[in-house]
C-alpha cells in the first residue's frame, strides 16, 4: 500500500465521517461558480438561487460557494474541499465541470452532486438545465423584426450543444419573420471576459449588425451597444434591466431558485435520486424579461403570444420543416425535435453560414 492510497483512504473516511456528522444537524449545500457572483448574468442568477435556498430553509441549511473556479483540474480541488468540508449536496454550475463532477462524485458516494447543463449522470450525480432555446426563439422573433440592416450579430461562447441550440433557435425564428436576415457569429471562447465581449460587440457593430445577441455572461456587450446608439440587445441569463428600455429590449432570465429549493428538500427528506431535469418557460426555469416599449406594439404582441404558446407546450421552438445546413432534411413538416437530438446538437440549420469550430 503506497502512501498515496493510504492518504486517499484517509481522505475518503474523513469525508464520510464529516458527511455523517452533518446529517444529524444542518444540511450543507455547496455551489461552484464559473464567474464572480457580481457578473450580472449567469453566476449572479445561480447565486440568487442559493440565497433563495438560505431564505427558504433558514437555519436548517447552510450554504457555501466558491466563485470564479476555472473549468479544469482546479475545479476538482474545489469540489473535493467542499465535500471534505461536509457538504451534503453540491451544485456545479457550468458545463465545463462535467468530467470533474463525475470524478469527484465517484470518490464521495455519500455526497449528492448536481451538474448544470451537462449530460453525464451517475448514481449520485443529477444533471439539470433550462431550455434556454425557448427564450432564444423569442429573441430571434423580436430580432428579425427589429433589424434594419438585416445583420444580426451573435456573441457565442464555446461550441457546445447548448450554445449551438441557441443560435439555431434564434436564427429559425428571425428568418421566419425576415427572410433576408443574416447571422454573424463570433466565438469568444469564454463565458466571462468583459473586455473581450465588448470588443466582439464593437466588431459586430462595425460590420453592420444592428442587433446583438450574446451567450456570454457580462453586461459589456450591452454597454457597447448603448455607446453605438442604435443597436438592439437582449439581457442574457439575468434581466440586465439597467440597460432598458433601449438597447436592452427583452431578456432571458434563468430562475434556478425553485429547483435548488426542491433538490435541497429532497436531500433533507432522504428522497434524493439521480435525475435529469430539463425545464423551460412552462415550469418557470426560463423567464422572459419585460419586452420594452422600444419594440413596436404588434411585434411585442406576437412575441408575447409566442411565449404563451411555448409556456403551454402548444408550440415547440424546433418544429419542422427544418433542414440542416448542408440541405439535408432534419425535421419533416410539423415534426418536433426530440430531446436526444437537441441535447447533442452539433449542426447548424439551413441558412446559417460558416462552420462550427471543432
Amino acid at each position: 500500500m503506497t502512501m498515496k492510497t493510504i492518504l486517499a483512504g484517509a481522505t475518503l473516511a474523513l469525508g464520510m465521517a464529516t458527511g455523517a456528522f452533518a446529517d444529524g444537524h444542518q444540511t450543507k449545500v455547496g455551489f461552484v461558480y464559473v464567474g464572480p457572483v457580481g457578473d450580472g448574468g449567469w453566476t449572479y442568477e445561480h447565486d440568487q438561487g442559493r440565497l433563495a435556498v438560505e431564505e427558504h430553509f433558514g437555519d436548517a441549511v447552510e450554504t457555501v460557494f466558491v466563485e470564479s473556479v476555472p473549468e479544469g483540474p482546479d475545479a476538482e480541488r474545489v469540489m473535493t474541499q467542499m465535500a471534505l468540508g461536509g457538504a451534503d449536496l453540491i451544485f456545479t454550475t457550468s458545463f465545463g465541470y462535467m468530467d470533474q463532477t463525475i470524478n469527484i462524485a465517484a470518490k464521495f458516494p455519500d455526497v449528492k452532486f448536481e451538474h448544470a447543463t451537462g449530460y453525464k449522470q451517475a448514481d449520485n450525480v443529477s444533471v439539470y438545465s433550462a431550455r434556454f432555446y425557448e427564450g432564444r426563439a423569442v429573441q430571434g422573433h423580436i430580432a428579425g423584426h427589429m433589424t434594419e440592416s438585416n445583420i444580426i450579430g451573435y456573441i457565442a461562447s464555446f461550441p457546445i450543444p447548448e450554445v449551438i441550440r441557441g443560435i439555431n433557435a434564434a436564427y429559425i425564428h428571425a428568418r421566419e419573420v425576415n427572410p433576408d436576415v443574416e447571422f454573424k457569429i463570433i466565438w469568444a471562447y469564454t463565458w466571462f471576459d468583459p473586455a473581450k465581449e465588448a470588443e466582439a460587440a464593437t466588431v459586430l457593430i462595425e460590420q453592420g449588425a444592428d442587433v446583438i445577441l450574446q451567450h456570454t455572461d457580462s453586461t459589456a456587450p450591452q454597454a457597447a451597444a448603448q455607446a453605438a446608439g442604435n443597436v438592439v440587445t437582449f439581457g442574457q441569463a439575468s434581466d440586465m434591466a439597467e440597460f432598458g428600455p433601449f438597447p436592452r429590449v427583452s431578456s432571458i432570465i434563468d430562475n434556478w431558485a425553485p429547483y435548488y429549493i426542491a433538490r435541497t428538500q429532497a436531500v433533507i427528506d432522504g428522497t434524493w435520486e439521480s435525475t435529469n431535469t430539463w425545464d423551460g418557460i412552462g415550469p418557470g426555469m426560463v423567464g422572459i424579461g419585460e419586452i420594452t416599449d422600444a419594440v413596436p406594439a404588434e411585434v411585442k404582441a406576437s412575441a408575447e403570444a409566442m411565449v404563451e404558446a411555448l409556456r403551454t407546450g402548444e408550440y415547440h421552438a424546433f418544429t419542422g420543416p427544418i433542414n440542416k445546413q448542408d440541405g439535408s432534411a432534419w425535421l419533416a413538416d410539423g415534426e418536433v425535435a426530440d430531446d436526444g437530438t437537441l441535447a447533442g446538437m452539433n449542426f447548424y440549420v439551413e441558412g446559417l453560414t460558416g462552420d462550427i469550430p471543432q
Binding site: 466565438w187 468583459p194 473586455a195 459586430l204 462595425e206 454597454a223 469550430p357
Partner: protein
C-alpha cells in the same frame, strides 16, 4: 467568407483602442524593470486601478478625476510591493504574485457596491483638421484622449531613459546596483519611485478598461491583461519603441481574430490567439536573455 465586410480603417482604429490598456501597463512595468525590479503584480495593480478609477469617476462624475484616482490607487498598491521588496527584502517574484492575488481580492471587495452602475461617458475627441484627413484621420486622430495620453507617456519615457540624467541613473541602478550605490546614488529611492510609476501606469491601464473600453465595473475584468503587459515588456527587450510595436501586435491580433470570425473566415482562432505569445518566445530565443537589465529581480541592501 466575406473579407469586404472588414473595414480596414475601422480595424486599425479599434486596434489602437484595444492596445491602449496593455500599452499603459507595459510602459510602467518597463520602467520598473529597467530599474532592476521585477514586479509580477501588474494584473493586481491594473484591476485595483480599474476599480479605484471607476469609484472616483462615478462619485465625481468626471472620468479625468477617475483616471487620476486610478493612478493613485495603483501607485499605493505598488508601494506595498515596494516596501516589502526594497525595505524588507522579500522575494520579488513571490511578492509580485501575491500582489496580483491581493489586488484581485481587494478590488472585488471595493467594487461590491458598484456592480451594474454605468460610468460617466468619456467622449472621443475629433481633433480639428487632423481628424478630417481621409483614411489617416479616422485611424489616428478620432480617439478618446487617453489613447494619446498613453502615446505621450511612451514618448516621454523613451526621452527620459535616453536623454535625461535621471533616466541614466535609473538605468545604472538597474544594470548594476552595487556600482550605482558606490557612486553615491540612492538605489532604494530610485527603485521605489520607479515602482510607484509602474503602479500608476498599470492603474491607468486598468481604468481605461473600466471607464472607456467596457465601460463598467465587473470583478476580474482585466482577465489577464496584466500578464500580457509583462510579456510585451520582454518582447520589446526593455525598449519603449519596440514596446509600442508589441502592444499593437497583441492588441491587433485580438481585434483581427474577432473581425475574421465575424466575416466568416474559418481560420482556427486558437492559432491567432497564440500567435503573439509564439512571437514573444521567438523574440526571446533570437535576442537571448542577455538583454535584460543586469540587476533584474535581485534584492539590494547597502551592507553588502
Amino acid at each position: 467568407m466575406d473579407l469586404t465586410a472588414i473595414n480596414p480603417i475601422l480595424l486599425l482604429a479599434s486596434l489602437m483602442v484595444a492596445a491602449t490598456p496593455i500599452l499603459l501597463a507595459a510602459i510602467g512595468e518597463l520602467v520598473v524593470e529597467r530599474s532592476g525590479v521585477l514586479n509580477l503584480g501588474v494584473e493586481g495593480m491594473m484591476i485595483t486601478g480599474a476599480v479605484c478609477g471607476f469609484i472616483v469617476a462615478v462619485n465625481t462624475g468626471s472620468p479625468w478625476l477617475g483616471f487620476i484616482g486610478a493612478a493613485i490607487g495603483g501607485a499605493i498598491l505598488s508601494l506595498v510591493f515596494g516596501l516589502l521588496t526594497q525595505l524588507l527584502l522579500s522575494n520579488q517574484v513571490a511578492t509580485g504574485l501575491a500582489l496580483t492575488l491581493f489586488g484581485l481580492g481587494l478590488s472585488a471587495l471595493m467594487g461590491q457596491g458598484y456592480i451594474g452602475i454605468k460610468a460617466p461617458s468619456f467622449p472621443d475627441w475629433h481633433i480639428p483638421l487632423l481628424g478630417d484627413i481621409p483614411v489617416i484621420g479616422p485611424i489616428i486622430f478620432q480617439h478618446d484622449p487617453m489613447v494619446y495620453v498613453g502615446l505621450i507617456i511612451v514618448g516621454a519615457t523613451w526621452t527620459f531613459l535616453k536623454y535625461a540624467r535621471a533616466g541614466l541613473i535609473l538605468r545604472a541602478v538597474g544594470e548594476n546596483h552595487e556600482a550605482a550605490h558606490a557612486l553615491g546614488y540612492h538605489v532604494i529611492r530610485v527603485r521605489l519611485l520607479a515602482i510607484m510609476f509602474g503602479g500608476a501606469c498599470a492603474g491607468l491601464g486598468g481604468a481605461y478598461l473600466s471607464l472607456v473600453r467596457v465601460p463598467q465595473w465587473t470583478e476580474g475584468m482585466t482577465a489577464g491583461a496584466g500578464w500580457i503587459a509583462l510579456a510585451i515588456v520582454v518582447f520589446a527587450s526593455w525598449r519603449p519603441g519596440r514596446l509600442l510595436i508589441g502592444a499593437y501586435l497583441f492588441g491587433g491580433v485580438t481585434v483581427l481574430q474577432l473581425n475574421l470570425q465575424a466575416a466568416g473566415v474559418s481560420v482556427p482562432v486558437e492559432y491567432l490567439s497564440m500567435s503573439p505569445y509564439l512571437a514573444t518566445i521567438a523574440v526571446l530565443v533570437i535576442m537571448r536573455a542577455g538583454r535584460a537589465p543586469g540587476s533584474l529581480g535581485q534584492s539590494f541592501h547597502a551592507s553588502r
